[in-house]
Amino acid sequence: MRAIFITILFISIISKARAQAISAATIDARAVIVEPIEIAKSVDLNFGNIISGYTNGSITLSTDGVRTANGAQISSAVPGLVSAAEAIVSHGEYNYSITLPESFILFNESNPNKIMIINQFQVTPITGIASPGDDILRIGATLNIEANQIPGVYTNSEGFNVTVSYN
């Protein structure tokens, strides 16, 4: 009982001392907690089947998933799996920026020293489909094909990064 009494007295003295040393003012204190921005991939970037040619060429895959061949040939009868990449951004209706890679390398699965380079990434955000705070990003790019590109499946298991940041 005696010990408790001493403790209370000590706190009382400290509080009193502070009150004397500073002048008091009243301010409003506010804090807004913003949900962290999030991005989740929903669809991979698939260029589909491309026919090897005797000259250099490229395939541009638009953000709505349409392929355009420039000096390369695509098979319309057997297009393979073709899709623009998709990711869902949860941004809580705050402005944000999107960062895409400059370029990305694909490796031949059975012959990894044979590569293709992807560049000219482009993105189209589609706003508020599921909810006002969620966007769908559709991402396209250009695949560069060398003359007599060795046939096979080209991929890169590391995947390319898309970064979203609050402004």
Binding site: V32, P36, V162
Partner: protein, 171 residues
């Protein structure tokens, strides 16, 4: 009074803590997507062997000479038929297309030219009629090409030649 002050102090600390959490929390995030592409081997066709209509009797009224895809010769006008000095052959090509890929075959009509001005028209047939027969398997597939030669009335005798151009393309 003392206990109230303690309580206020505690709430203020909580607010400061909350604010600092928002600053430290992720203001950016990265997602990763895979990229896939498939390169398909180009379709190829080699230079084939000749389509030979053989030796034909030039009659007053002409007619058609047909060489089937199998290399058999028939005449619409039997008077034109004589034993050929050379072997009758359908043309033969090899097409190599990627496995499971369908392709088209195009063989435009042409003419055979001789020393005179009376060219003879030729139309072609081939052995891969039907889409199911024009699907690649990654190996060489034989294409046989026959044709029908239209011999004009009183066709000038002599040797006539032309060329058959076969174009294959993925569909």
């Amino acid at each position: 009074m003392i206990f109230n002050m303690k309580k206020i102090t505690f709430i203020l600390l909580a607010l400061i803590g909350g604010t600092s959490f928002a600053q430290d929390g992720p203001a950016s995030a990265s997602g990763t997507a895979d990229v896939n592409a498939v390169i398909v081997s180009p379709i190829e066709i080699n230079d084939g062997t000749a389509l030979n209509f053989g030796t034909i009797n030039g009659t007053a009224t002409g007619g058609d000479v047909t060489v089937s895809n199998g290399g058999n010769r028939t005449f619409s006008n039997s008077d034109m038929e004589i034993t050929s000095a050379t072997a009758i052959t359908a043309a033969s090509f090899n097409i190599t297309a990627a496995d499971t890929y369908s392709y088209s075959i195009s063989i435009p009509d042409t003419v055979l030219k001789g020393s005179g001005t009376d060219d003879m028209a030729v139309t072609f047939t081939h052995s891969r009629i039907g889409a199911a027969k024009r699907v690649g398997d990654g190996t060489a597939q034989e294409l046989l090409v026959g044709g029908t030669l239209t011999v004009n009335d009183g066709q000038t005798s002599g040797e006539y030649t032309g060329s058959v151009k076969v174009t294959v393309a993925y569909e």
